[in-house]
Amino acid sequence: MAQRAVSINPRWPGALSGALVLMLTLGTLAAVALRADWQSGIQAADWAAIRFTVVQAIVSAFVSVLCAIPVARALARRRFRGRGLLITLLGAPFLLPVVVAIVGLLAVFGRSGILNVFITTLGFDPIAIYGFHGVVLAHVFFNLPLAVRFILQGWLSIPAERFRLAASLGMPIGRFLEIPMLRSVVPSTFLVIFLICLTSFAVALTLGGGPKTTTVELAIYQALRFDFDLGRAALLACIQFGLCVIAALLAWKFTVHIGMGTGFDRTVARWDLDRPFIDYLWIALAAAFLLVPLGMIIVRGLPGLLVMPGTVWIAALRSIAVAIGSATLCCTMSVALALWGRKWANIIGVLPLAASGLVVGTGAFLIVFPFVAPSAVALPITVLVNATLALPFVMRAIGPAIAAVQDDYGQLGASVGLSGWAWLRIVVLPRIRRPLGFGAGLSAALSMGDLGVITLFAGKSEETLPLAMYRLMGAYRMDAAAGAAVLLLGLSFMIFYLCDTGGRRDADV
């Protein structure tokens, strides 16, 4: 099949995208390694950090996926008013910058958060969020939305005809449709979340409560910023990539590919909708867990909107431009990569997840610096890096859809002589519109909230919204910063919503 798909499409867009991703992930790492004078290797404390990082990432990914399955199932089975909006809203925590999300979580689960206020008025001892469980809780808060969306997509990808067939034959849907679907979707979802948690830094430290919960990314930060030990940073980044490759191979080993076949894109009608109470309970629990902290961020930040300096709005415009730029680039690269060839595309497609943002930024700095003042290219570099870092999510969203199009329509397309741009425009794009809209929204919103590479490059006039927010915090202006956080949350969500619903327009979801 792959052979035929390749013959339909030119190779160069995929190859170019792949090269760009490799350049920004492994290339930046090489740039850092080449500059290192290798004064020290991995230290004893680093091994403890590596151990903790892997363990928390496994637990976080496991819990996220485990909770996501019933929520996604409930959302796939039920139809109710505002369902579409709720699905989009549930995605919001994933789009938040870490600093903002921590504020929201602490407002609910912190020492003086609403949960503890409630518990202590009932006469019980307050609960402490800080510790291993706090790290997992925060990572689930971030990643449950992603897991729900990916798994929900799996459910929605089962054609209506299969449900009809199952119903008419009296076959159990769980065993014949849902479990095979999960076996194809869950491993890659687990992999993505595992890798996100692998590069966690501020969440793990802040909610972990101390140096016990040091992650590899913090060790990299320390090596780069405090010790200027580029060699150690490069080694640690290599370990992150190594873990990524092992995890990816394991995930693929456990993935079972299924062909659900094509349908006529009919609305799914279900005949097995017993026990609505349990479904709605899961939806309510997930909504409460994900939306209450968001609500707290908004409640706390609204007054701050009024005291925000005007420059924050300009920074916001800049961020929107960066978001649109990197979403466009990211989607183009992802489509090119996904059409290129599956095996290579898959490996390249997850690589950025294991990349340390700091190493990417530092490497890009080293590559750019000899040619041009870093602040002059701050925004283009940010667009490029953000597009690359969001690529795994878009790839994950559109990859299966594109593979399905190639499987299902490749022969038909070839037989009528469709190729290149026409094939893409007439057959592929309309059929991947839903995941592509989701991917575009995701990459735009992630780029909007990113505070990684920009801090290394930006001067005064390249300030983005997250950077403006962070600078407000650094200047004691916590109220204004909370206002900026609400603006950031609002804009990220809006841009995500527009792309996501744009992709679903007149699709029957």
Partner: protein
């Protein structure tokens, strides 16, 4: 593969950059982010210096103090920067070792609680680390007292934050032999450790802890900018560790005279009078008009602690190890 994509961009930008090079010399100063922000000292300092130098002063912000040195080391001798402003004495030994700095050559009458003799780095402001809490609440009277109490604090990680590193030095300086023991007793007081100052300070304001590691001058911000007298710095019997923020002249500068002029300006009124209510620290030289109203209410420590840059660098790894072991139990 990347070159074809960005070479035209690079070329275009290079052309723009050359076009912008007018007759006026440009002094490029690398500093931390909050210095250049519109609430920081940057804009006022820039205006004041440009009024007398016939030059263009350009501040470039790069996250925090620790990042400055890393940035300069990344750029190496090819750097375009003429002055680096915002290192502290925990970093100056490492900075000196890079060989990227030249002596500042300024003789100034500094108002620091300690004697200043460093030939390479010149202070522009300073402050005392302190735990900042609420005025109407229980407080601690010493590090030891804090460790023995039930009070909850938020601190910063010494591996990623300069105040965090300051506390590490504070404990080590006050308890050279028993630092590990003190950290072990402090462990149950520490709610959490944050990557940077902002997160910790925000958590304290949100009620997550009784106090946060910050500066004795922090209450001045609330008093002067927000007319809120509810925040106080706790006075500790052991004395308070200082942070002295310094600037250095980059050895490879192509604007040597202008850099000298800037460093001399840095300890003059035009620069120093801006510091207290923008950087919320003590100016290195008290301005002619004195300190702003409100600063007289601040707590003055009984003793000022500060290790020499060389000592600070020498004990850092050991102190870090003690900290990590004690808090990892």
């Amino acid at each position: 593969m990347q070159k074809p994509i960005y070479l035209p961009v690079v070329a275009g930008l290079a052309i723009c950059a050359t076009g912008a090079l007018a007759e006026t010399p440009v002094l490029q100063v690398l500093t931390y982010d909050s210095f250049v922000s519109e609430w920081g000292p940057g804009p006022a300092v820039e205006a004041a210096f440009e009024a007398e130098c016939a030059c263009d002063l350009e501040f470039v912000g790069s996250s925090d103090g620790a990042a400055l040195l890393a940035r300069l080391q990344l750029e190496g001798p090819r750097t375009e920067f003429d002055v680096v402003l915002g290192l502290d004495t925990n970093l100056t030994a490492a900075a000196r070792e890079t060989g990227l700095f030249a002596p500042h050559g300024v003789t100034a009458d500094l108002d620091l609680p300690i004697e200043w003799t460093d030939p390479d780095f010149l202070p522009f402001d300073w402050g005392y680390f302190a735990f900042v809490g609420n005025a109407d609440a229980t407080s601690a009277s010493s590090l030891r007292d804090l460790a023995d109490s039930d009070l909850k604090i938020v601190i910063q990680d010494p591996r990623s934050s300069t105040p965090g590193l300051g506390l590490l030095m504070w404990v080590k300086d006050a308890y050279p032999e028993e630092a590990a023991d003190l950290w072990a007793t402090l462990a149950d007081n520490i709610v959490t450790v944050t990557p940077g100052w902002s997160e910790a300070y925000g958590m304290f304001l949100d009620g997550e802890a009784d106090a946060v590691l910050s500066y004795t001058t922090s209450p001045a911000y609330h008093l002067i900018a927000e007319e809120d007298a509810s925040k106080v710095a706790w006075s500790f019997d052991e004395g308070h560790y200082m942070q002295v923020e310094v600037a250095g002249k980059v050895a490879s500068t192509d604007q040597s005279d202008l850099a000298d002029q800037f460093l001399a300006f840095m300890v003059s009124d035009g620069f120093q009078s801006v510091i207290p209510t923008t950087n919320w620290m003590y100016p290195a030289v008290i301005p002619e008009a004195g300190l702003p109203e409100g600063f007289e209410t601040l707590m003055t420590p009984t003793a000022s602690l500060l290790k020499s840059p060389e000592d600070a660098a020498a004990i850092r790894d050991e102190a870090l190890e003690e900290w990590r072991n004690a808090l990892s139990q």
